[in-house]
């Protein structure tokens, strides 16, 4: 098992700590394992969550960090939610919900009138839609550059296989296989963010 990639190792570590937390019987052991769990959660997920929340908050660093902190605290409070499965979908879903709530709370605040009369019309789905778009963009940004490129040429620019092959300077067969693997990678990246297509 020594050949496993880092995230796997981290996940196992967190599972172990979570179990320890659940069964710890002395107060001292509890305190130590609490701190271990929160440190493990931070080490493995804080940076990825921040990248994600920065996008969701349109680059507002303070809000993005607040959401990350709140998300990790909730994971620590509910170790069972991430104990037996990959943690990322749950974490990203919590972060997204917190971002949506924060976004709505800001919209609802009466003193923020600068954005005009549109704020008076409740559009609950708008925040969801925007945040979902950012989440998909985040998933795209996690793909390999050549995967993003082939999706841009074929899907967004609407080029045929032959056209994409000419533009990218790669054989048509490569366009096809690359598009296939790009979509598979995208699917994984979306699932990791709690967005099943």
């Amino acid at each position: 098992m020594g050949t496993r990639r880092e995230p796997e190792a981290g996940r196992r570590r967190i599972k172990g700590v979570a179990r320890q937390k659940a069964t710890g019987n002395s107060r001292q052991a509890q305190r130590v394992s609490d701190e271990e769990l929160v440190r493990a959660l931070y080490a493995e997920h804080a940076a990825a969550l921040l990248r994600f929340t920065l996008r969701m908050t349109d680059g507002d660093r303070q809000r993005a960090e607040d959401i990350v902190q709140e998300t990790l605290l909730r994971a620590w409070l509910h170790p069972e939610a991430i104990a037996e499965r990959p943690a990322r979908p749950w974490l990203f879903a919590v972060a997204r919900n917190l971002a949506v709530d924060a976004h709505r709370a800001r919209k609802a605040r009466p003193q923020e009138v600068g954005e005009g009369a549109l704020n008076l019309v409740p559009v609950p789905d708008e925040a969801d839609r925007v945040l979902e778009s950012w989440a998909v963009a985040d998933a795209l940004s996690a793909l390999r550059p050549d995967h993003r490129q082939v999706l841009l040429e074929t899907y967004y620019r609407g080029r045929s296989v032959a056209e994409a092959s000419a533009v990218l300077g790669i054989p048509a067969g490569t366009v096809k296989s690359r598009a296939f693997y790009a979509l598979r990678a995208l699917r994984l990246a979306l699932e990791e963010r709690g967005l099943a297509p």
Binding site: Y42, Q69, L73, R129, V136, A137, L140, Y155, A179
Partner: protein, 95 residues
């Protein structure tokens, strides 16, 4: 007659709408009698709708060769100590 392997590799450009018409006909013919490839297709079929949620300009920005070299953003130094402090407080409150 095309193999499943060839067909599957074509399913990407098939759902993206980039496949050429002759090959599309071939894929359709294969799909008609191959449940495994239909299943593969089903796993990819929802993805274009997800891509549609990202505006073209954003997709272009992300795909630009010099776009954001993937520097991992690190949280500020206060976050971890603050988290640890909050867990300690929660413990205290619930004891």
């Amino acid at each position: 007659m095309s193999s499943c392997r060839e067909i599957r590799q074509a399913l990407g450009v098939y759902v993206l709408g980039a496949i050429d018409p002759a090959e599309r006909a071939q894929v359709d013919e294969h799909l008609a009698h191959c449940p495994d490839c239909r299943e593969e297709l089903a796993s990819l079929a929802g993805l274009p709708a997800m891509l549609r949620k990202v505006p073209m300009v954003e997709a272009e920005r992300l795909a630009a060769p010099d776009a954001e070299p993937d520097v991992p953003e690190m949280p500020s130094e206060e976050m971890l100590p603050s988290l640890v402090a909050r867990t300690t407080n929660v413990r205290r409150m619930h004891r």
